[in-house]
């Protein structure tokens, strides 16, 4: 590989000769001869371009020699291409009302006209991404792209966002799309110790792609179906997101362009629980100052108590507004700044960008700083040779990330706020000797101690680099060599200060994760016109991809000297090391055959060889075929009413490999013997080292996974393109999935890795794009998108009805269930089989636990997005509404709020007789009678709700409607800017996560999820940092 690079480098230097240039001028008009101002002129195949002036005139420099083609385009007009001949003057009259020949980025970064595609591609451009910038780029896709469901998981700074394209198809956790930046696949993993199991405190650190600076993005293409992603091979089986970064542009004035984009935002709690404020901390109506998060004490009537919470002083008992939740959570601040300079001419282009994201979070002592520096440059050495290179350096440092889940003192949840507990009394939290003070009870930590004394740090350095060399020795032929490198050094450090309750002796954990991905493509492209009507374009390529992950870490337990995080300063230290490496070779081809510009057929084929599969069976081939038929052109149907009509259909098969090192029977050296409550014992033990066998039986014969998909769709435009409709239906069959199948542990092993099962996914996507109102000075554009995806687990292994996908505390699990989909499994109440009413224990009047069952899909039935944009003179108002319908969720925060008597609904019958009227009592003869047994108290009723892990009362419909984003911008008109050095100036106000318009889940954001992007867990929340609402101002200027 090094040699190849060297050769590519040599190629660059041996071709650096200069050659002559010539200047072309002309005028661009409409058919009536009216000058078109701001029309684009692009030298085809390059980024060299210019725009027309107020008289429609332009000037552009092109290299001497044959083969130069100029592309003329203007909004609302058809694009024209004209080959540069002898004349230095080219005047063009563009035709109005022809098809907007939208160019989209497809697999391998190849730009294609949207009309020629036999599958659906959604593309977002830079303007849409910078309107109300997100710190995690993934969230920008929310509501704007059909077929895509985005889940942001918590209000932690730098939290991950989970993206799912066209539903879940994989049982083995391969449901995340492939991210490709400037032609290079990049790592979007979220590393959480590799566990789908999030029982213990988990820190939701960002997914790998979140580091991309929204200001650097020119376009994001979302490739959804297998036909769209076929050239990427197995890794894009769950879709691909193709990011193209901005380049320097030629403007014809030989001045560099400077652009600035600055935002400031304030972040606050998005949803505040409805806390009850009438009853004090305690239980059985008795006040107890240490009863944090358990408000079953006496009614608050201003009574004087001898021991107020935390202070221990005597005084009157008072409720604190909102249980002090707003005293504890702070107002977060976000500064988003970007500064970029760019320039270009017919010979070179470059863009340098500096981005800074500086945040303080709503959780005390949390902050995040991310700095992006990027360079994207291209050189056109000659008409035959051009090169590009880009590099992005991203440094992200975060502090004070709160844990979620359970079993970790560093969890910050909404259920630890009590009515009579004043959070302000927790300050100070430490005395001069370093002891924890002002904690409510010897067994309960002061939350400020946790926030300020325990470290939760992450320092991440990322380098994304790419280089490409394109050689076009003769007409219509190009050979491109591309090289990409993704380097990520992710260093994490967590500590619990000595004196932290439940970690009394203190500990620390350092984990250094290094991810490297190296990718090379060599692609040859050739196109020619077979006849006047029939054109062919062919592509062949070779891909080499190598991924490596190294993890080194140390857990140090029981510190001698506080806050000294040295391996020698602990009584127990456990080192950790992990390494994995995988290589993939691919050969691929794609042939486009187009007839008269209204019929295009694309055939692709790819063969991969993966190092993770058995050597004798590591090769797999997958084909795709897609067709686009512009019937409006073919049949001459275009009219004033009907502007454009296209039918498309595609079929594709994709294979998939597995993770490294799954094929051999292995014995692993062991560093700890595990125990309950993490009471682990170290090896060597009394001098003896230890090895243990694998818990997964390796596969005898492993086959590549196989996914077959089919898609049809249509695109229709009416009223001169004022109304557009795009409909797609897809159907995917995912077979022979490679899965560690749970087997009876009584066989001596927990799992068997094998090919099993079949998951079918089908769905419908509809996009309606309309400009209902448009007149001078005002326009309203609206986009409504609808996506549904239904996942059906058709088959698992023989005799297996359920496979665990992800699990959380209290026995709630996400499972794939045969005949159903990805379901939430939990313990219900026992119900009378005739009436369906819950059975009551006649002893105490409480409900009885039943056998675990599934409660419904954790994935939505459908999602809809409403994107609206109003232009009123120089003002632009836009907003996005998200609607997610269906799916179930178990929010443990709601459970804790209710069981703890914190939530308002627990005021019901607090002091009266409490009989569960919904329930029935079983009679001896098999019949039932209405329940008449009172529960001992309301406290007993609520606390018994989750006895024996019952989940049913806390499982809700997860549907919601959110006003996701709103922005109002004012563009200063040229008349105001005059001849100043400012070319463009836009100021605006913006808000994200503005309002929760509908949700049946009380007290929390229904979008919260315990699982970050790294696990296929949806539908479970547990002590998540609450999500935030952001409001801010923005200024954008170019000079």
């Amino acid at each position: 590989m090094k040699k190849l690079l060297l050769l590519l480098g040599l190629a660059i230097f041996t071709s650096g000769a200069l050659w002559a240039q010539r200047s072309i001028t002309g005028t661009v008009t409409d058919q009536e001869g009216e000058a078109l101002i701001g029309a684009s002129i692009l030298l085809k195949g390059t980024s060299t371009g210019t725009v027309t002036d107020v008289d429609g005139k332009y000037q552009i420099t092109v290299p001497d020699g044959p083969g130069n083609v100029l592309q003329f385009s203007y909004t609302g007009f058809g694009t024209q291409e004209i080959e540069v001949g002898i004349s230095n003057v080219i005047d063009v009259a563009l035709e109005e009302g022809t098809v907007l020949e939208e160019v989209v980025v497809t697999a391998l970064g190849i730009e294609k006209e949207s009309r020629s595609l036999g599958y659906s591609v959604d593309q977002l451009n830079s303007e849409e991404l910078v309107k109300a910038r997100e710190s995690n780029i993934v969230n920008s896709l929310q509501g704007k792209v059909t077929g895509v469901v985005v889940n942001n998981t918590s209000g932690n700074l730098g939290a991950s966002a989970k993206i799912l394209i066209r539903g879940a198809t994989s049982l083995s956790g391969r449901n995340n799309p492939l991210w490709v930046i400037d032609g290079q696949p990049v790592n979007d993993d979220q590393f959480n110790g590799g566990q789908a199991n999030r029982i213990s405190g988990t820190r939701d650190f960002a997914n790998g792609a979140s580091v991309i600076n929204p200001d650097d993005i020119e376009t994001i293409s979302v490739l959804k179906g297998a036909a769209a992603t076929a050239l990427y091979g197995s890794r894009a089986a769950a879709g691909a997101i193709i990011v193209t970064t901005k380049r320097g542009k030629t403007k014809g004035d030989n001045n560099l362009q400077v652009s600035v984009n600055s935002s400031y935002r304030m972040d606050d709690l998005f949803v505040t629980p409805d806390y009850q404020q009438e009853y004090a901390m305690g239980s059985l109506a008795k006040y107890d100052s240490s009863s944090v998060g358990y408000d079953w004490g006496p009614r608050i009537v201003g009574q004087t108590v001898s021991h107020l919470p935390v202070t221990g002083e005597s005084g009157p008992l008072r409720a604190v507004k909102d249980n002090g939740v707003k005293d504890f959570f702070e107002t977060g601040n976000t500064w988003l700044n970007n500064f970029a300079i760019s320039d270009g001419n017919e010979k070179y282009d470059y863009r340098i960008s500096f981005g800074a994201l500086n945040q303080t979070g709503i959780v005390p002592a949390s902050e995040l700083d991310r700095y992006n520096v990027s360079l994207n440059a291209g050189l056109r050495h000659s008409p035959m040779l051009r090169s590009r290179f880009g590099v992005q350096f991203i440094k992200t440092d975060s502090r004070g990330t709160a844990a979620a889940g359970a079993n970790d003192p560093n969890i910050v949840g909404l259920s630890s706020f009590s009515s009579t507990l004043d959070q302000r009394n927790f300050i100070p939290w430490i005395d001069e000797a370093g002891n924890q003070i002002n904690n409510p009870d010897p067994q309960i930590n002061n939350p400020y101690w946790i926030r300020h004394e325990n470290l939760n740090n992450r320092d991440d350095s990322r380098i994304l680099a790419n280089a490409a060399l394109t050689f076009a020795p003769f007409e219509n032929f190009e050979l491109t060599g591309k090289f990409g490198y993704d380097y990520d050094q992710d260093n994490r450090f967590f500590s619990n200060r000595k004196g932290t309750i439940t970690r009394l002796e203190g500990n620390f954990e350092t984990t250094n994760i290094n991810n490297i991905q190296l990718n090379t493509d060599i692609i040859a492209r050739y196109s020619f016109d077979i006849t006047d009507d029939l054109a062919l374009s062919a592509l062949g390529g070779f891909n080499y991809n190598k991924r490596q992950r190294t993890i080194e870490g140390l857990f140090g337990n029981q510190l001698l000297v506080p806050q000294l995080f040295s391996p020698g300063n602990v009584k127990q230290s456990v080192p950790d090391r992990d390494f994995r490496e995988q290589v993939l070779f691919g050969l691929y081809t794609s042939i486009d055959l187009s007839y008269r510009d209204w019929l295009t057929m694309t055939i692709t084929g790819r063969n991969d060889w993966s190092s993770t599969l058995p050597l004798n069976n590591n090769s797999y081939f997958y084909p795709s075929v897609s067709t686009a038929f512009i019937f409006s052109d073919a049949l001459g149907l275009a009219s004033d009413f009907f502007s454009y009509g296209k039918l498309r259909a595609s079929f594709a098969q994709v294979g998939n490999d597995t993770d490294p090192y799954q094929l051999d029977f292995l014995f692993f050296p062991v560093t700890v013997a595990t125990g309950q409550y993490s009471l682990n014992v170290n090896f060597p033990f009394n001098g003896a080292s230890a090895y243990g066998k694998t818990n997964t039986i390796p596969p005898a014969d492993l086959l590549p996974e196989q996914q077959t998909s089919f898609e049809i769709g249509t695109e229709l435009d009416f009223f001169d393109y004022r109304l557009g409709l795009d409909i797609a239906y897809f159907n995917t069959q995912n077979k022979d999935q490679i899965l560690a199948l749970p087997i009876p542990e009584s066989t001596g092993f927990g799992f068997l890795r094998t090919n099993v099962g079949q998951v079918n996914t089908s769905g419908l996507e509809i996009t309606l794009d309309a400009t209902p109102i448009k007149f001078k000075g005002f326009s309203w554009n609206t986009i409504v998108n609808f996506s549904s995806a239904r996942t059906e687990v058709v088959e698992l292994a023989e005799g297996v009805d359920r496979v665990l996908i992800a699990s959380a505390f209290n026995s709630v699990q996400v499972v794939a269930e045969k005949g159903k989909g990805f379901e939430l499994l939990g313990v219900p109440w026992q119900r009378d089989s005739v009436t369906g009413r819950p059975l009551i224990n006649p002893e105490d009047g409480t409900r009885i636990a039943g056998e675990p069952k599934t409660f419904g899909s954790v994935l939505p039935d459908f999602t809809m997005g409403f994107v609206n944009s109003f232009r009123i003179g120089d003002f632009n108002l836009s907003f996005t509404i998200d609607w997610r319908e269906g799916g179930v969720m178990k929010p443990s925060t709601v459970e804790d709020l209710q069981v703890g008597g914190l939530a308002k609904e627990t005021l019901l019958n607090r002091e009266g007789t409490f009989i569960d009227r919904e329930g029935v009592i079983a009679n001896a003869d098999g019949t039932v009678r209405d329940n008449d047994v009172p529960v001992a108290s309301a406290e007993h009723f609520w606390t018994a709700l989750d006895d024996n892990s019952i989940a049913e009362p806390f499982i809700f419909d997860a549907s919601f409607v959110k006003l996701r984003e709103i922005s109002l911008n004012y563009s200063f008109p040229q008349s105001l800017l005059g001849n100043s050095f400012i070319k463009n100036l836009i100021i605006g106000v913006e808000a994200r996560n503005v309002a929760l318009l509908y949700s049946v889940i009380p007290h929390i954001d229904p979008e919260a999820s315990l699982f970050g992007s790294g696990a296929d867990g949806w539908g479970i929340e547990r002590s998540n940092v609450p999500s935030t609402r952001s409001i801010g101002v923005n200024l954008r200027a170019t000079f």
């Binding site: 590989m1 190849l4 050769l7 040599l10 071709s15 050689f471 020795p473 060599g481 309750i501 970690r503 009394l504 060599i522 337990n557 602990v570 009584k571 127990q572 992990d578 390494f579 490496e581 995988q582 290589v583 070779f585 190092s611 993770t612 050597l615 090192y661 292995l666 014995f667 692993f668 050296p669 062991v670 700890v672 013997a673 595990t674 125990g675 309950q676 409550y677 009471l679 014992v681 170290n682 090896f683 033990f685 009394n686 003896a688 080292s689 230890a690 090895y691 243990g692 066998k693 694998t694 749970p742 087997i743 009876p744 542990e745 009584s746 066989t747 001596g748 297996v800 026995s811 024996n948």
Partner: protein, 469 residues
């Protein structure tokens, strides 16, 4: 011309790419081995067993036989959680038995020179199956650990499991008989219990047989001849033959009974008040038993915490002499054998002197806790021991059973077996229990239930096991 050169360079570039086959042959985990020596697997098996056993069963179910007044996340009131059952089941089957069966197969294949290794694997295997059955009654046994043949193992009755364990122990003993005098595999490094001393393994195997036979005898006295036979074999007879896994103490090497205290509550059980004595234990010790002061701190005579409650300022608490980081994991003591012998003599199964074995057992257990246990902080003088032993009235069956209950102190399975077998002392569940007796069994873990269709239906956790009368 220049571009022709470039084209050639591109082509050469393609050729210099490494050969695909070689580049793809990297799927070997550099941090794992394809085989492992018994000297490294056995420490994993034994220490992982101990770590999980002490932390999972020890700290969670010592309140079932009521040696402790309460344990965290205990099943004392009836429900056995999926974590308790799943962790315990998984430890026994996948970590202990799954590894042992590989060690055993390799050793048997290697021939005589590894008879010692095979014997060790068999003894540990029998112990594991026996304990699994003591927890769950019916368990996969004859079809267990052979997924290729039995992908969904059937469950065997407890009697079959117990008798099968006896056979495994017999096989182990006969392998020990055939350990060659020379050329034997050196297992001293991996045998963290006895350093490869096969005589001690033989004694433990015979002692385990007696333990199992006593449970079978509870149901079927026809094993008396087997009991008589095993009493003629070498057994664990003195405290220096006791089976202990020593914990060095300190970070990463501490017994979980202490670990749970120091990790979550404070450096001393006496001040943090985590583990308190159960009422039956307190009551049996309070009238002059020298162990009272070894086990229990109660200078003001406040008494044990109520059943199901943790100690506080108004109750007794277990001593730091017991709840300490270097408390060994106690697997077998000679006193257990001596008390069985006293019991069998009283029953007339043997002609031995019941009083003599009772006195010997009592002396052994007092000497163990007061003198011989590594790291004892409080000791007993010989005279204290002998005075106490001689102060007791003539032995009765009730006294033997009471001493068996005390003898099993801080060993969850042995203690639980003892109270289920002898019903001495008579125990009631805590007042808030959903079961009518003390816990008699665990429910099967959800993972086994969902993956093995042959798992029997769960019954209430107060349904007695086969061996109970």
């Amino acid at each position: 011309m220049k571009y022709i050169k470039l084209s050639i360079l591109f082509l050469v570039g393609l050729l210099v790419l490494p050969s695909c086959d070689k580049a793809l042959d990297i799927n070997t985990d550099p941090l794992a081995a394809s085989s492992a020596d018994p000297n490294v697997i056995l420490p994993f098996v034994i220490v992982q067993y101990s770590s999980r056993f002490e932390s999972e069963l020890g700290t969670r179910i010592m309140d079932v036989p009521q040696h402790f007044s309460a344990c965290f996340n205990s099943p004392r009131t009836g429900p056995t959680t999926s974590f308790l059952t799943g962790n315990t089941w998984g430890m026994y089957y996948t970590q202990v038995l799954g590894n042992l069966v590989l060690v055993e197969q390799d050793a048997l294949a290697a021939g005589e020179s590894r008879n010692n290794v095979a014997a060790i694997a068999k003894i540990l295997k029998a112990k594991a199956f026996f304990e699994l059955s003591c927890i769950w009654d019916k368990i996969p046994f004859s079809e267990a650990l052979d997924g290729a043949t039995y992908s969904s193992p059937n469950f065997d009755d407890q009697e079959a499991v117990f008798r099968g364990c006896l056979s495994i122990l017999d096989e182990a003993i006969s392998l020990i008989d055939k350990v060659p005098a020379e050329g034997v595999f050196d297992v001293s490094g991996g045998d963290v219990l006895f350093g490869g001393d096969m005589d001690k393994w033989r004694r433990w195997a015979n002692s385990l047989k007696l333990r199992i036979l006593m449970l079978i005898r509870n149901k079927d006295t026809s094993v008396d001849s087997q009991i008589q036979a095993v009493l003629g074999q070498p057994l664990i007879e003195s405290n220096d033959q006791a089976v202990l896994l020593p914990y060095a103490g300190g970070g990463g090497a501490q017994n979980a009974f202490y670990g749970i205290v120091s990790a979550f509550f404070g450096p001393s059980n006496e001040t943090a008040q985590v583990h308190g004595p159960g009422e039956p234990l307190y009551d049996l010790l309070k009238d002059g038993d020298p162990r009272f002061d070894l086990y229990i701190l109660d200078p003001d005579g406040l008494g044990a915490p109520d059943n199901g409650f943790f100690p506080d300022d108004n109750t007794a608490v277990l001593r730091d002499n017991i709840i300490r980081d270097d408390l060994p994991h106690i697997m077998f003591l000679p006193s257990e054998i001596s008390f069985y012998r006293a019991e069998l003599a009283l029953l007339g199964v043997t002609n031995e002197d019941a009083q003599e074995w009772f006195d010997r057992g009592l002396t052994q257990i007092l000497e163990f806790w007061g003198q011989d246990i590594p790291g004892a902080q409080i000791t007993l003088a010989d005279a204290t021991i002998s005075d106490y032993v001689s102060s007791l009235p003539a032995v009765t069956m009730q006294m033997v059973h009471e001493q068996q209950y005390l003898e099993s102190f801080i060993r969850p399975i042995v203690a639980w077996n003892t109270v289920r077998r002898t019903k001495v002392p008579a125990l009631s569940p805590p007042s808030n229990a959903s079961i009518t007796t003390i816990l008699k069994r665990f429910n099967y873990p959800p993972d086994e239930v969902s993956s093995n269709p042959n798992t029997p239906a769960n019954v209430n956790t107060d349904v007695p096991q086969w061996f109970e009368n």
